[in-house]
Structures are given as structure tokens and as C-alpha cells.
């Protein structure tokens, strides 16, 4: 029999603020943290909004990481380490906890490579009539040392893994993924299996990323993930929605075997399923009390998604997408934090801004909805064609595994 695994701690650095409480407060208030896009690299009247980490939250995150390690990091990696520290604090653990074997599973966003801004000055210096002068580039980086020597480390897709392990002195088993929903799913599945097999005693799962990069954003427009129609509001499951808005940030969970946690209510992970075709995703037989599903902000796609949502028999449906924007690296982790919050508070936050639902389903609108909640389903659709469902249950009982 498989051991039950529970969420022992969570942390996040999101546009809604630093920490789970900020996110939960924004969710309950139906308050979007998406703001005017603030970048000096381009101006636009068509892509005007972004879920951006506020400077004070970035500075607070930096306090969680030694100065000498920050030189290796993109901002997203710094947020990731901070999210992990929050999650460990809640779980009552430190990285070097005697007698606790840790596993570390990281997910970076598809665009966590260093911003092209970091190349800007150098590139300008080697442009000749609009074309790259390779010899000039080589001379500048080799003779003038104009390139940051740590750029390759910042560009490493396992930078989050390396820096987190150093910051917390973690030496256990590990993995790093660079994928959205599928990466989160793989990390959660591997972490759960390692706990159930008894190889580790605590699993840290962290995702961090940012798309605040000019060509990355225009690439997302071309891929149809975000809109370029001047929208400043993200409205999932709403007929008034006019497309997606990107966001950035980090989220972390600490998982433990339920039997290793104290008595009292705990949020447990019951099952995880995935399928390349959303409509064929395996869903639980029994109706769920609350369903967390991000949606897209595109009414056509959201209406299509609702066909799958209807199969869940959910009593309440909510989404956190409008709060932080579309996150590349931690979509499932953020939704799991929202789901856990709902189970703990016995209250379902509303979908921010929702006024005209795309389907006749029990979307929570306006104000938080108190309810008796025992089972929760988190359903993630990935624009790369990979979808996943996570089942949670909330119980004071220690299951007899």
C-alpha cells in the first residue's frame, strides 16, 4: 500500500506579494496584481500588462540568499530560493535538519535564461550596419571581458537547483525540469514516489521563472498564449476575456509522509494524472468539492475547457490566473497552494473579475464562498498540449496506509 503524502509547507513570491498569505489575501479579495508592463526595452500600446514581481518583494527575497550566491542568479532563481525558505519554515525544517533526508525537485520556466538586456550593451558594441560582427564580439568578450562570466551559469536551466542546494546545504536526490505543467507534474510525481519508497523524508518542489523579455513576450504572442490587443485585465472563464497576460514568480511546496506529521488536519495529495489530450484526462469518479483550474482568458478556449470541467461534478470552481497572470514555471504549484488554502479555510476564493461566465458551471464569483470542503481537484491545461489533474483531500485522520 502506498504511503499518503501531505503538503507540510508552502511558499511563494508572486505578483500578489511575498508569501502565501499575500497570495491568499489577494485571492479572497478578488484582487488582480497584474499591472502596467514596466520595461525600458520597448514600448507598446498592444502588450501593456504583466504580472510583475514588485521591487520590495524582490528585495525581501534577496535577504534569503547570501550575497556571494546572488551573482549566479537571475531574479527568478532568487525568488525560488525565497519560496523554498518559506515552505521549509512552515514545515518546521531546515536544509540540514538532522535525521531528515531531503529530495530537491526544481522546475524552471522556458524563458529563465538571462534576459537579453544583460547582453544589450555588449551587442550594441558589436553591431555593424544592423548585423552582428562576430569578430568584434569575440574581441570585446575576450579582451575587454565585456561579458558577465557567470552568464552561462545564469543561463543554465538547472541554476535554480544548484543555487537552492547550495543555499540550503541540500545533498539528497534531485532533479530539474524545464517545462510548465508537465514539469510540475513530473517533479511532484517523482517527489511523491521517493517519499513513498522511503528514499527521502522530505521533498522540496520549487518552480521559478519569468518571461519579462522582449522577444520572449512577442514569441508568446505568436504562440497565442498572451494577447496583443491592449488588454490590461485577464478574465478567465469570462465572455469578456480577450486573451492571456503573462506573469512571473516562484512557488515551492514541502511534501512529507502523512504519518511523519503531527495529528490534526492535513492537505494530502491523493493522485496525479496526465494526458496529452485534455478530453482524455483521467478524472476521479466521485464529484469533487472544489475545482481549481486556471483557464486561459480566451473565451473560446475556456468554453472548450469547460467540457472537461463539467465532467468533474465540482460543487465550486475557482481560478487564481487573474491574480498573477500566466506563470511558466510553477502553474500547478501555485494552484495547489490555492487549493490547500481553500481546504484549510473551508472557503473558496472567487475568480477575480468574473462577471459573465462562459458556461453554466458553479464558478465562484464576487466574494469568497464558505463551504464544507474535503476533496479538491486541480486541473491544469498546458498550451504545449500536456494537461494534468491533481487530487487533494483534507483530513484530520492519519490514513491507515
Amino acid at each position: 500500500m502506498k504511503k499518503t503524502v501531505a503538503i507540510a509547507g508552502a511558499g511563494c513570491v508572486l505578483p500578489s506579494g511575498w508569501g502565501v498569505e499575500s497570495f491568499w489575501a489577494a485571492a479572497n479579495e478578488g484582487r488582480s496584481a497584474i499591472t502596467a508592463l514596466n520595461t525600458r526595452r520597448f514600448h507598446s500600446e498592444r502588450v501593456v500588462a504583466f504580472g510583475q514581481i514588485q521591487d520590495q518583494d524582490h528585495q525581501r527575497s534577496r535577504q534569503d540568499l547570501a550575497q556571494n550566491l546572488q551573482r549566479y542568479c537571475t531574479p527568478a532563481v532568487i525568488w525560488g530560493v525565497s519560496a523554498v525558505r518559506q515552505a521549509l519554515d512552515e514545515a518546521g525544517l531546515t536544509g540540514e535538519q538532522p535525521g531528515v533526508r531531503f529530495g530537491l525537485y526544481c522546475c524552471q520556466g522556458g524563458y529563465t535564461h538571462p534576459s537579453l538586456e544583460s547582453y544589450a550593451e555588449l551587442l550594441h558594441g558589436c553591431r555593424q550596419d544592423g548585423v552582428a560582427d562576430m569578430a568584434a564580439f569575440a574581441k570585446r568578450i575576450l579582451q575587454d571581458r565585456a561579458q558577465d562570466p557567470f552568464l552561462v551559469l545564469k543561463g543554465l536551466s538547472n541554476c535554480l537547483l544548484g543555487v537552492t542546494s547550495l543555499a540550503l546545504k541540500l545533498v539528497g536526490e534531485c532533479n530539474a525540469y524545464m517545462q510548465g505543467v508537465a514539469g510540475n507534474l513530473a517533479a511532484l510525481r517523482e517527489a511523491t514516489a521517493a517519499l513513498q519508497a522511503g528514499r527521502i523524508d522530505a521533498a522540496i518542489i520549487v518552480g521559478a521563472g519569468s518571461e519579462l523579455d522582449t522577444l520572449a513576450l512577442s514569441g508568446l504572442v505568436q504562440a497565442g498564449v498572451i494577447s496583443a490587443n491592449g488588454s490590461d485585465t485577464l478574465l478567465p472563464f469570462d465572455l469578456r476575456g480577450i486573451g492571456g497576460i503573462a506573469g512571473e514568480g516562484a512557488a515551492a511546496l514541502v511534501l512529507r509522509r502523512r504519518e511523519d506529521l503531527p495529528a490534526g488536519p492535513q492537505t494530502c495529495l491523493a493522485d496525479m494524472t496526465a494526458h496529452a489530450i485534455l478530453a482524455r484526462l483521467s478524472l476521479p469518479d466521485r464529484p469533487t468539492d472544489v475545482l481549481v483550474c486556471s483557464g486561459t482568458g480566451d473565451p473560446h478556449k475556456d468554453r472548450e475547457l469547460c467540457q472537461t470541467l463539467a465532467r468533474t461534478g465540482a460543487s465550486h470552481i475557482t481560478s487564481g490566473l487573474a491574480i498573477n497572470g500566466i506563470l511558466s514555471a510553477a502553474p500547478s504549484l501555485v494552484d495547489l497552494i490555492l487549493a490547500r488554502g481553500a481546504l484549510q479555510a473551508q472557503q473558496v476564493p472567487p475568480i477575480a473579475g468574473l462577471q459573465q461566465p462562459v458556461a453554466n458551471l458553479p464558478f465562484v464569483q464576487g466574494a469568497p464562498h464558505p463551504a464544507s470542503l474535503a476533496h479538491c481537484l486541480v486541473l491544469n491545461r498546458d498550451d504545449n498540449g500536456f494537461s494534468a489533474a491533481f487530487q487533494l483531500f483534507y483530513s484530520a485522520e492519519v490514513p491507515q496506509d
Binding site: R41, Q108, H113, L156, L168, N175, G183
Partner: protein
Amino acid sequence: MSPTRIVITGMGAVTGFGFEWQSMWQKMLAGEHCIRPWQPEGVEASAFPLRYAAPVDMRLMPAHLQDHPAWGLSLEKRTRFGWIAATQAIADGGLSPEQLRGAAVLSASGAPAHRLQDMLLSLPDNPAQAPSWAQLMTRQAQVDPDSSLCQSNDRLARVIADGIGSEGPVINISSACAGASQAIGNAFQMIRRGEVDVAIAGGADSVLSLDTMTALYLLGAASSEQRWGTELCRPFDRHRSGLIAGEGGGFVVLETLERALARGATPYAEVLGFGSSLDAYKVTAPDPEGRGAVLAMQAALTDAGLAPRQVDLINAHGTSTPLNDAAETLAIKTLFTEREHYRRLLVTANKSQFGHLIAAAGAPEFMLTALACRDDRVTPTLNLHDADEQCDLDYCAHQAVKRKVDVALSNSFGFGGLNTSLALGKYREPSR
């Protein structure tokens, strides 16, 4: 209940040796290497400090692969290498589309290598004046569709999954130089857990671009020595001075033994265990005492239910960097200390023959380890003329070694301080 046995039934490799594993195996047993003089595009060789690499010669690509519809897609070079290797592995394994429908695809493809010309497009003409969104979209459209700026990191996994029509899990691993090993290790674990019964796993990479090679140089990881010529990659030698980058890809087919036998496949070798660990020492350097490497090898052996004394061969990470080779040797001596078993072990370093394939490195090295188990032959470590006093194991210097290999480990370590080790065993038919 006895644990599920998992075997390797298909292999595909793209390296500087060519576009299939068979010639790679033969050439490596013969002591050949594919390290050549190299210079970045658009830069005089004399102006660039790194002069050698192990590039793939695309002119050697078989015509039947170029005729494949997938070749017409806009793909980065690394993705093309991976796609070819995966296609080859599937053909080698004799798998039909029907048999691949539920297959997991796990790949590692490293960090993206940007084209400078594409990066320039993101910049305003005048640094004081930002471009408009309209200009930016125009420039985005000008980006080379084969550039990493256009493609997400999980493109390789998706291309393979779409190509074989798989509806199974598609996973992109990003753990630097340990990536392909981790992909293979995770595939092994997924099959053992019963999540899938067949997986295509491996990796592909190409860092042979101006900015990535420069970054490797500035980090002090790559060798800029001139005096050894193409014999520059010298794992465990006193005069080793850094890694020599290569490019390519490798994929394997893993499946349950039961399934392999039912469809008449012949396994190359059996996967016995997998372990990973973190150094938590430095981002840019391994723990000099090799503690992380010990943990990874120990975890693989524990996972396999093996004792250190049962191991015959270690396919080392062996990068030819001063730090790695000494630390890895110390790790081996630490773990295999009982009755000085390390003195009886064979250790080999494939990077002396095809360079460091970065994220892909673990895949061809895993295949060569499997072939060593199958054929009882071990590829040599080249250019080891004057062993470092800290490196005092049997590294199969210069010539291939013929010796019985029942159990072997394949090590891969990555920047950032992560370590993996895969345990393999000679395939034995199940007792009736």
C-alpha cells in the same frame, strides 16, 4: 514479488563519429577519436582561444533521414541531433507505432544557444530609444526559426512524442551535464513504478557557438591549451587542462523485460538502479572530496540491491578537468574501499574520444556501458600518458580492454553540483 526487470532494447547515437551507434562502438574500440580543429563561425581561429572540439559532420548524414518529413521542420541543431538519435533507437528496437502509443518520452537538451544575430533583433537601433511593439513583432518574425529564441526548451521531447504518435508522458529534464543520465534514470523509475511500460529517453546538445564556447572559456571549464593538438582531452592525465566540447545526441529504448520478450526483442543489457545527489559545495566546482559523487553511486547501488564489490566497470564522468578527475577518482576510492576493490575496477572516460556532449553526454556513455556488459569489452581512455598522482586507478589507457563485465556504473555530473549514477548489468535470460 520479484521487482520488474527493465532492459535496453534500442539505441541511437549522433556524435562526431557519425550518425549511428554501431560505427561509434567499433571506432571507439579501435581507439579512434573525433576531436578536430574548430573555430566559431565568423571569427578567425587565431582570435579565439578554444581551437578544438568534436563537431558532428552533417555531410555524413544518411540520405534516408533527410527525406523524413520531420527534417523539414524548423528545428535547432541540438533538436535535430536528438530527433535522429531517437528515430534510430526506435528503429533499432524494432518498435511499431502501435507499440509506442503509450510510451514516455524523456529528454534533456541543455541550455539554449542563441544566435547573436537573433539577439540583436531584440535591441533598439538607438540604445536611447526603445523600439515599438510593431517593430518588435517584425523582428520576432525575422528571427531564424531554427534559433533557440523561437523554440521552447522542451521542443525536442515534443518533436519525438509527436513523431511517434505517443500519448504518454512527455518530460524535459534540465540538469546540465547530467541531463541525459537523469532522463534515462527517470524513465527507468517510471517503468519500475508501473506508470509506463516503455520509454524513449536520452538527450541532445550543441554548445559549439561563439557565445556559449566563450562562456565556457571564461568560466575556466574549457581547455585552451595548444600544445597537445587533437590529443587535448586527457582525462586523469597530469597535463589535463579542461573539457573539450562535443555535440550530438543519444537515445535509448527502455522497457520491461516481459514486454521485450513478448515482442521478440533482444536486450542489450539490463538497467539495475539509479541514484542522484547534490554536492552543495560550489556552483562552478565539484566537491574536491567527491562526496556528492559517492552519494550518487551509493544510491544507484542501493537501488539495484548491489554491493560495491560486485561492480566491474565504471564509465566515469571523466571530463579532463583538473578538479573533476581527481574528485571522481577519490570518490571511487572512497566507495569501493572494502578490500581495495577499486584496484580491481576498470574505469574509462569516453569524453577522450568524442568530447563532452554536455546535456547529452550521459546517453552515449550509458550505451557504451551497456555494450561493455554485452560484449565484455571496454572502450579506452585516450591520451593518458602521464597519470596524475591523484589518479591511480586502472583507466583502460590507450587500448580497449577485454574483460568480463557483469555489473557497471555510468556516472554523469553537472554544473551546479548535481550527480547521477546508473547501474547496469549483463542481460541474463529469465530462469524458467
